[in-house]
């Protein structure tokens, strides 16, 4: 239940904020170096870092719960304990993968 709602909330956030930033990035790149620099300035502003980190988490959560729904489409995983186990695994997995993604970004930025 919680994971099903999380799937919708993260999907909504990705579809609005995520897709909006994605279009802004491409539009800025097509508009020239100055527009692109303005985008990078906003996107890397440290007080706005919650946005890219939040979107990374939303993407991982949406991907994992989406894959879970895809497995459940085949009729598997409806047994109560298995269902609950995999629901929690999507939540824990998404948090871990978000941490790993940003650890990698920081390691790359520092190297």
């Amino acid at each position: 239940m919680l994971v099903s709602i999380l799937h919708r909330i993260t999907g909504f956030g990705l579809a609005t904020l995520g897709a909006g930033l994605f279009v802004w990035w491409l539009y800025a790149a097509a508009s020239g170096a100055e527009a692109y620099a303005a985008f990078v300035g906003w996107a890397t502003w440290k007080w706005a870092l919650i946005v890219p980190v939040g979107l990374t988490w939303a993407a991982w959560q949406h991907i994992l719960s989406g894959l879970r729904h895809l497995v459940m489409d085949t009729g598997a995983g409806y047994e109560l304990s298995a269902n609950r186990f995999w629901a929690w695994m999507t939540v824990i997995g998404a948090l871990l993968l978000t941490l790993l993604t940003w650890a990698y970004i920081y390691w790359r930025a520092g190297a």
Partner: protein, 145 residues
């Protein structure tokens, strides 16, 4: 049953005399297309996932993310084409997903139709702007960014 409750209650079945057949079916989606719609939903989702992984890995492997590097990278056919496909898959996926959410939570038929129209317009506009931007970068002469 009044016409009013008809409009706000698209799932009938509580009474045999609840309006005309059209009134009862309206807003419930077209018949005979369910399996196709279901398949397109999953295809768009899977394509979005695969191409998004490709994009994330590609961006993380680029030496820098400045304007010159990114536009130079986007000019390669094997980068521009997956980007165009990602935009198509992703906007189709988010359009279908948002419509599912609207269908579940917007119970008033009028609101539902307006919201769905807005989602369709915004998805088409956003997707078209993204597609055009990639094409503009890809076809721009070298050095003209």
């Amino acid at each position: 049953m009044t016409a009013d409750t008809q409009l706000s209650n698209p799932a009938p079945a509580e009474s045999l005399s609840s309006g005309t057949p059209l009134g009862r079916a309206r807003g419930l989606g077209s018949a005979r297309e369910g399996a196709h719609h279901w398949g397109v939903e999953r295809l768009a989702a899977a394509a979005t996932l695969a191409l998004l992984v490709w994009l994330a890995v590609s961006l993380l492997r680029l030496p820098a993310l400045d304007h010159a590097t990114v536009t130079q990278w986007l000019k390669a056919p094997l980068v521009a084409v997956p980007m165009l496909l990602l935009i198509l898959a992703m906007f189709r996926h988010l359009q279908m997903g948002l419509i599912v959410v609207i269908e579940d939570y917007a119970h008033d038929e009028g609101n539902r139709l307006i919201l769905i129209a807005l989602v369709n317009l915004a998805s088409i506009f956003g997707g078209a702007l993204a597609l055009f931007s990639v094409l503009k970068i890809a076809f721009a002469p070298l050095g003209a960014g």
